[in-house]
């Protein structure tokens, strides 16, 4: 009897994080030409995206395989809920605890990172491997 060897998907989380942080540093440097406040506001805006998204990736790929399909879907829903909740909490914390914040830089960098993150996951996909 021949058994099919199971495939495990390799998630390139480290590569994604390196590319995202590199992009974030570049955007922050560009904003810091405007002012230092704008620079660190932009950096925090990027971090608000990166940290919940890393959690999302970690949770989604906790279970794999056809036998765990129900767990995959459950993880997807839980990870998305946690991601949105974490994002809202981080935004609330930044707007209440950090008094001098340059809001256009914060929101612009966050929006750019969200869109770039989707494109990055499209370009560098997780690869199923033996």
């Amino acid at each position: 009897m021949k058994f099919r060897q199971s495939r495990i998907t390799h998630v390139p989380l480290a590569r994604w994080l390196i590319i995202e942080f590199t992009g974030l540093f570049i955007i922050s440097l560009l904003w810091s030409l405007h002012s230092v406040l704008a620079g660190y506001s932009a950096f925090i805006g990027g971090l608000i995206f990166i940290v919940p998204n890393a959690w999302f990736v970690n949770r989604v790929y906790r279970d794999q395989g056809a036998r765990n399909a129900h767990l995959m879907v459950g993880n997807l829903f839980r990870a998305e809920t946690t991601k949105i909740a974490l994002t809202a909490i981080f935004f609330a914390a930044v707007f209440t605890l950090m008094e001098p914040v340059y809001v256009p830089a914060l929101l612009f960098t966050f929006a750019v990172m969200v869109l770039a993150g989707g494109a990055l996951r499209w370009l560098i996909r997780p690869q199923p491997r033996r």
């Binding site: 395989g65 129900h70 935004f91 966050f110 869109l115 996951r121 199923p128």
Partner: protein
């Protein structure tokens, strides 16, 4: 001032509704397709993951704008 809170509530509520519908359809299709072709499960998970990233982009930005309205504009 109350209008700002109503606007933030509408942004978050509509975003949550749209994301919920989208993820419901996405998860349902993932289960359906995995049941049809179990050997494709991991590839389907990758595609679902990519679509999930695209699906929640706009609601995430909406959450950021809503938090700005609540804590900066109204606060």
């Amino acid at each position: 001032m109350e209008m700002v809170f109503i606007a933030a509530a509408i942004i978050i509520g509509m975003g949550a509704l749209a994301t919920g519908i989208g993820f419901g359809i996405l998860g349902g299709k993932l289960l359906e397709a995995t049941a049809r072709q179990p050997e494709m499960a991991n590839q389907l998970q990758v595609k679902t993951f990519i679509m999930a990233g695209l699906l929640d982009a706009v609601p995430m930005i909406g959450v950021g704008i809503a938090m700005y309205l609540i804590f900066v504009v109204a606060g």
